[in-house]
């Protein structure tokens, strides 16, 4: 549904931040974007969102050219959740915050209320409508950012390092939410440094290095190749390490480890 072709971008017309990125993202996929700090991950998502426009190259959404689009055009299709929720939240109440996008998109009063209500319900924020966003905890702020993105009913959701600064409990909640959206048909673009998340949730991984697309494939393909993984500044997920330690082969998720261990125990018995 989203096609990028030869996307180039530079901030100062000299050093390329993105260098000929060609990438197809299909409907219903969870695509993880990984790479070192400063490799161009966030820039890429910003170009998709129309916050910045590529210097050259083409960008298509459902066959329509969106290369020169602006965020206002994209807001109907794509929800963007920034890494730091503090920089995204501005309204005086949770309700206003979530209602902002539907209002801007010209939803009717009734539609606004229902979409806000639904977004808050999904993210578990019901009852906080009249609280000030600034007074929420870090985890709730992050979920509020997601709710705001959801209210516009996008088909694609971009999450820029959603688990940064979140504790492990909140991290689990966020990932479960993401999974749920995806099962309902939403396409997810996820920027993350967390290999465990990629191994467990992503359908596809894209790895950038200095603005160049170095890998595009499944997590299994990436993490089966330790040399490549480490060479790209990444690390093997914990599950893969443990799988090796217990001689279980490549395991991407804790569930796989448990399953294989159980199978092995049965075989022994």
């Amino acid at each position: 549904m989203l096609n990028l072709k030869d996307i180039n971008y530079s901030y100062n017309k000299k050093d390329k931040v993105l260098d000929s990125i060609t990438l197809d993202i299909h409907e219903g996929e969870i695509v993880a974007i990984a790479g070192r700090n400063g490799s161009g991950k966030t820039t890429l998502t910003r170009i998709i969102m129309g916050i910045m426009n590529a210097d050259c190259g083409f960008l298509q959404l459902d066959g329509k050219d969106i290369t020169k689009s602006i965020p206002a055009d994209m807001a109907k299709h794509i929800g963007y959740v920034f890494q730091n929720p503090d920089r995204q939240l501005f309204a005086s109440s949770v309700f206003e915050e979530v209602a902002y996008a539907p209002k801007q998109l010209g939803f009717s009063e009734k539609e606004i209320t229902t979409s806000v209500k639904k977004a808050l319900e999904i993210t578990g924020l019901t009852g906080l409508e009249y609280n000030s966003p600034q007074m929420l905890s870090r985890g709730l702020k992050q979920r509020l950012s997601i709710a705001s993105a959801l209210a516009a009913k996008p088909k694609i959701l971009i999450l820029d390092e959603p688990t940064t600064g979140q504790d492990c409990r909140e991290r689990t909640i966020l990932l479960r939410l993401m999974r749920k959206f995806n099962l309902e048909g939403m396409t997810i673009i996820l920027v993350t440094h967390d290999m465990d998340i990629i191994a467990e949730h992503a359908h596809k991984v894209v790895v950038l290095e200095k603005g160049v697309l170095k890998f595009n494939g499944t997590p299994l393909e990436l993490f089966s190749n330790e040399k490549l993984t480490v060479g790209l500044g990444l690390e093997l997920p914990e599950a893969v390490h443990i799988g090796k330690e217990y001689n279980l082969g490549i395991c991407l998720t804790p569930r796989e480890i448990y399953k294989k261990l159980e199978e092995r125990n049965h075989a022994h018995v």
Binding site: Q83, G139, D167, I242
Partner: protein, 432 residues
């Protein structure tokens, strides 16, 4: 080094609270009993209503209830106009004991249309017990005719019980409002850190973990002195770092002891280039320019940024910025380093680098290191003490394996246990 923090909760609501409330209510009961009118020999027994209320408000143990009953019995004996006032000395203690027992076990925790009807039940039953015993004892001792007992005394008890039931139900809510303010959780003072007693050894590497809002950052800020000096709010606490009483010391002195790298480390970097950043803190301490240059190169080499003096800070990667923030703190030569979530938003490579740097600073340069962290998989080979906080309470502080074991079994923040440990613990549990 000793670092003991004890941020105390205000003195727990007094253990004598039940006595105060009971005494007050019994006194009010006596006065009301003396002034309330009697209709055909029947008057409301305010005594019983009042101690029932007191018992429901404080929920004392049955033994304490017996004590309340004895006092109520004495009071009733002195104020009663009945034929045999001394019977109160038997009836009230028994009723008090049983009343407290029922309240303690919450026998009648019932609601009708969202109204608690426990008071009505409690007063009714207590009055029946107390009155029943009272009239029976009176009958036996004075040897009254059975007809008087059955058709006059017992019905009187019944009517008094019904009257008491109505009054008790009506009075319970206002009485609860007046006396039980402290019982509402919302009115209770909740300390961000509560009774934290912790010793961090010199040269140790400690990790503080816990869900967001559990008090990790507050604890670190307290250790670094920022909490006490800028924000205040320390109550009944002692915090001693290297024999310096932090709460009662000037911040400048402390800067030499504890260096802090905050969660938003970028907010901590103020100059344009890497070299200037290091020089900034040293200039503030009034150190000679020559010394500054020497120190600058030394600490940049320590954190692996040697040769990058002239680089713009904005051009550094996240991991490099984090290391620069650490270098600025190292430049001051403080023996203790405090870092708040140093690897959030840093790529895996950078995360490994930061922790190997911290490990080196700990083992080679003997720095005492205290880090708040969620991601425990990077820390397993450097940490000497793992501390887990939960809602402001220190739940465990000890060796990493012991602490993880504790977290796993007592379900305190089990999400943070690294997968490797989780599997190990689970396999250990299943003995397979």
């Amino acid at each position: 080094m000793e670092n003991k923090t004890a941020m105390n909760k205000a003195k727990n609501e007094g253990s004598l609270r039940w006595i105060t409330i009971t005494t007050l209510l019994l006194a009010i009961g006596v006065i009301l009993r003396m002034i309330s009118p009697s209709m055909g020999g029947i008057s409301l027994n305010w005594n019983i209503v009042m101690y029932c209320l007191a018992i429901m408000l404080c929920r004392p143990t049955p033994e304490q209830g017996l004590g309340i009953g004895i006092v109520a019995g004495l009071v009733a004996t002195m104020t009663s106009k009945a034929a045999l006032p001394y019977a109160n000395l038997i009836s009230e203690p028994i009723a008090g004991y049983l009343c407290a027992y029922m309240a303690y076990k919450r026998f009648f925790d019932l609601k009708i249309a969202n109204i608690k009807i426990e008071p009505a039940f409690m007063v009714f039953i207590t009055t029946v017990i107390s009155g029943g015993i009272f009239v029976t004892v009176t009958k036996i001792i004075i040897n009254l005719p059975i007809n008087v007992y059955l058709y006059a005394m017992l019905p009187t008890v019944g009517i008094m019980a019904i009257l008491g039931m109505i009054v008790g139900q009506v009075l319970y809510k206002p009485a609860n409002k007046i006396f039980n303010l402290n019982h509402d959780a919302k009115n209770k003072i909740r300390y961000t850190l509560d009774h934290i007693n912790l010793t961090i050894e010199k040269g140790s590497f400690s990790i503080v973990t816990g869900v967001n809002g559990s008090g990790k950052t507050t604890l670190l800020l307290a250790i670094a002195g920022a909490r006490t000096n800028y924000f205040g709010g320390m109550k009944n606490s002692n915090l001693i770092v290297n024999d310096i009483d932090i709460i009662r010391t000037e911040l400048a002195e402390l800067n030499r002891q504890v260096g802090m790298v905050m969660a938003d480390y970028e907010g901590q970097l103020v100059t344009e280039t890497v070299g200037d950043e290091i020089a900034f803190s040293l200039e503030n301490l009034g150190i000679e320019p020559k010394e500054i240059l020497k120190k600058r190169n030394e600490v940049l080499n320590m954190v692996g940024l040697g040769g990058l003096e002239d680089r713009l800070i904005t051009s550094l990667s996240g991991g490099q910025k984090q290391r620069l923030a650490i270098a600025t703190v190292l430049a001051v030569d403080s023996p203790i380093l405090v870092l708040d979530e140093p690897i959030a938003a840093i790529d895996p490579e950078g995360a490994i680098e930061i922790y190997s740097l911290l490990k080196e600073l700990n083992t080679k340069y003997h720095k005492t290191i205290i880090v708040a962290e969620h991601d425990l998989k990077y820390v397993s080979d450097c940490v000497t003490q793992l501390i887990v906080l939960d809602d402001g309470d220190l739940k465990y502080a000890g060796m990493m394996d012991e602490c993880l074991n504790f977290m796993y079994h007592s379900k305190i923040y089990p999400e943070a246990i690294p997968l490797k440990w989780k599997i190990y613990l689970e396999l250990g549990d299943k003995k397979c």
